[in-house]
Amino acid sequence: MIEFDRVSVTYHRATEPVLSGVTLAIPEGELCLVIGRTGAGKSTLLRAVNGLVPHFTGGTLAGRVRVAGRDTRDHPPRELADVVGVVGQDPESGFVTDVVEDELAYTMESLGLPADVMRRRVEDTLDLLGLAELRARPLATLSAGQQQRVAIGSVLTAHPRVLVLDEPTSALDPPAAEEVLAALQRLVHDLGLTVLLAEHRLERVVQYADRVVYLPGAGRPVEVGTPAAVLRTAPVYPPVVGLGRLAGWDPLPLSVRDARRVAGPLRDRLAGRQPPAADGPAAGSRTAGRGWTPGTRGTRGTAGGSGTARTSGTSGTSGNIAEVRGLVAGYGELVALRRVDLTLPQGEIVALMGRNGAGKSTLLACLVGLLRPRAGSVAVAGRAPYGRRRLPLRDVGLVPRQPGDLLYAESVAAELAGAGSSARARGAAGARGAAGAEAAAGHFAALAPGVPPETHPRDLSEGQRLALALAVVLAADPALLLLDEPTRGLDYTAKRRLVGVLRERAATGTAILLATHDVELAAEAAHRVVVLAEGEVVADGPSRDVVTHSPAFAPQVAKILAPQPWLTVSDVERALGRDGGGP
């Protein structure tokens, strides 16, 4: 169905090809997953399928790409619209009309299908993707998950034979992602659709894939094979595969179900052992007064690269950096938060979870002072963050969902230097600016090594951009660090680095709150998990308790080893390693 014959792609003014010598054939009816590190050329490969590369993006494509017998050399994307449906990374930016129903019909209108066919297909697609109640809604009012489903529906109505999806679930909460993937599964099985998709969140998709294409990047040849074969050696793999590799399971299980069926012996070996409890200052207990001394704040200074100890009234009571009491907040008529209580103690990493629209971002906006609460109180470092001329950036820093928003210098180096100067502009001591810039550069190097300093922020990959934004925010050395969906578009390596940096900050006393859909990240990094639903806190407790009690939020390892309370592969690894006998 899709044939790549010795395809190489070199973008304009690039010295290295993004793809080189890619040869693969994807037969009809297959669900093929493209994996690889950030920047390995996944998007380029996907966009080459319908000719967007090179017809639209420019650059040179050597070799031949054929879809359903049509060569993309002679067929521009619009002539392939009836056989290939493409859904990009950001569905909202691809919408042409303004209402759900019209958007679903748009491709069919372009193809000139008769009115009765269009009518029927729109109704079918509304049902297939569960969009029937949204049919008359303006697209701008939909949630991210709904928008993603509309975007998929809008190409499905043309009945393409190939569906190409670039990170279809990375913006979605676990239930919405399940919904989208279930719909895809149905399309593959019932309609024989050929699906090619790239996704960083392998734990969500790998069990559905018939075949995996691994792009190692840097000019090395692609690997194509069954998921179990490719994932045995690939550097990107989901936790279930990590556990399988650790335990030496063969064949490698790809789903929780397969893994559970072979996990009996491992559970027996782990029986009686306790997960390593103390890998964080909070580690399950968040009783008042835990291990906080004024000296802790002083050590933050050296770790953060700034020489001055924090003397402002950050102590609050009992070591809580932030206290939220009875918070009610919203936009216009929408009430996003209803009487939320939350405390964020020093040195604790808290994961804020909940479905799209549950109020996570609103809570972050209140904590950072961008939004004034309607009722209740918010105190960060003992003071209300809102209603001042400038945000109290030394108390609290936020990395927004689109980290690129924070960046506006011409190069990475200028951005890092600017981070120092804005730290100084905030009224800190003169020496602080330079130190802030140095600290920012240090954080950036730790998060995204090997980026040339003259790179324009726009040319950075998603993960590198997050790293730069985080480094810039950390330059101000905030007592409370907030991150909104930090793992969108991050590969596993970048995620590990992020977890490393967050832990390091927490160890020096920073309180960290991360809003995320990524259950694996929450299991790996967070000491505590808070779940929001409909603007209310529905669960608040140690990660181990909260995530293992909810199937939607449980990480794969927890599901495989339940009822034993293991959360991550590294937990298991350490427990087995401590025992002396490796797997």
Partner: protein
Amino acid sequence: MPRQLHPGAWWLWAVGLGTAASRTTNPLLLALVAAVAGYVVAARRPDAPWARAYSAFVKIGLAVIAIRVVLQAVVGAELPGHELLRLPRADLPGWLAGIRVGGPVTAEELATAAYDGLRLAVLLACLGAANALANPSRLLKAVPGALYELGVAVVVAMSFAPQAVTAVGRVRAARKLRGRPDRGLRGLRGLLLPVLETALERSIALAASMDSRGYGRRAAVPARARRATAALTAAGLLGICAGTYGLLDSSATAGVTSGAATLLGLPVLVAGVLLAGLGLALGGRRVTRSRYRPDPWDVPEWLVAAAGVTVAAVFVVLGGDPALHPSTAPLVPPPLPLAFAAATLVGLLPAVVAPALPRLQLAAP
């Protein structure tokens, strides 16, 4: 059955009322036209963002009257008559002799200005009524295939505005998060660039999406036919412009009776419409698109359009009637010509014949 009326019908109706308003300066008739338009809007306006346009248009209209009257009082040409007050007169140098500033203000003068302003305001109200009643995106769906690409450009531009607002909010928040000014001149500079950048990135993503979804697929048409299409359409549009001008602008034909102007304008208009229609039909052959759920043109549409056309026709055909232009010098109370008033009331018909709107058109999120 509750449904949305074809937007073209609403526009024909509104243009009909507007045509009538443009043919008279009689304040009673003008007020009647405005009342008719307002009543229909109140009866058949959907609950949608674009439907709020009406009040904005009315406010602009009121401002137009006020500005027109004030300007007349201060710098307008003098009309002898009942002096109401005397403004201090500014002495201008000789080379500005034609312009008067200040001086006596007469009732005749103000009445002329008010009548004029009112006519413009009522025209605006008719335009506002069309905007409030007809869904703009559905109207664009109804444009001929040959103009489709133009329509898409407009749709994209319309969707850009709300997105720009969101982008401004995001960028401002981000600037606050960096401790940079988000207001004032410096804030504006820091705001504009990222917002434009976002807009550019979005348009590139949109173009890629539209390309992948078959935008711009065309049937093969010989070059000669394409050129003929272009020529026909251009000539047709010119004809429509010239004809409309002749038909509506009675002051352009000062000295000639209105009937003569109509006779001059009408054939040109008809010829223009025919030519443009031919061009669009030819151009449409290149386009392979089809339409999803086009609005039907049914009995209610005919009735609504006919109501508008009837009002316009009466005012145009009987355009010579002096009651349409009551005298302001000498200032007399304007008469209410019953024939015209009755004709205007025909414009109320849509409030009854247009189908009721479906409930829950645009459910709130």
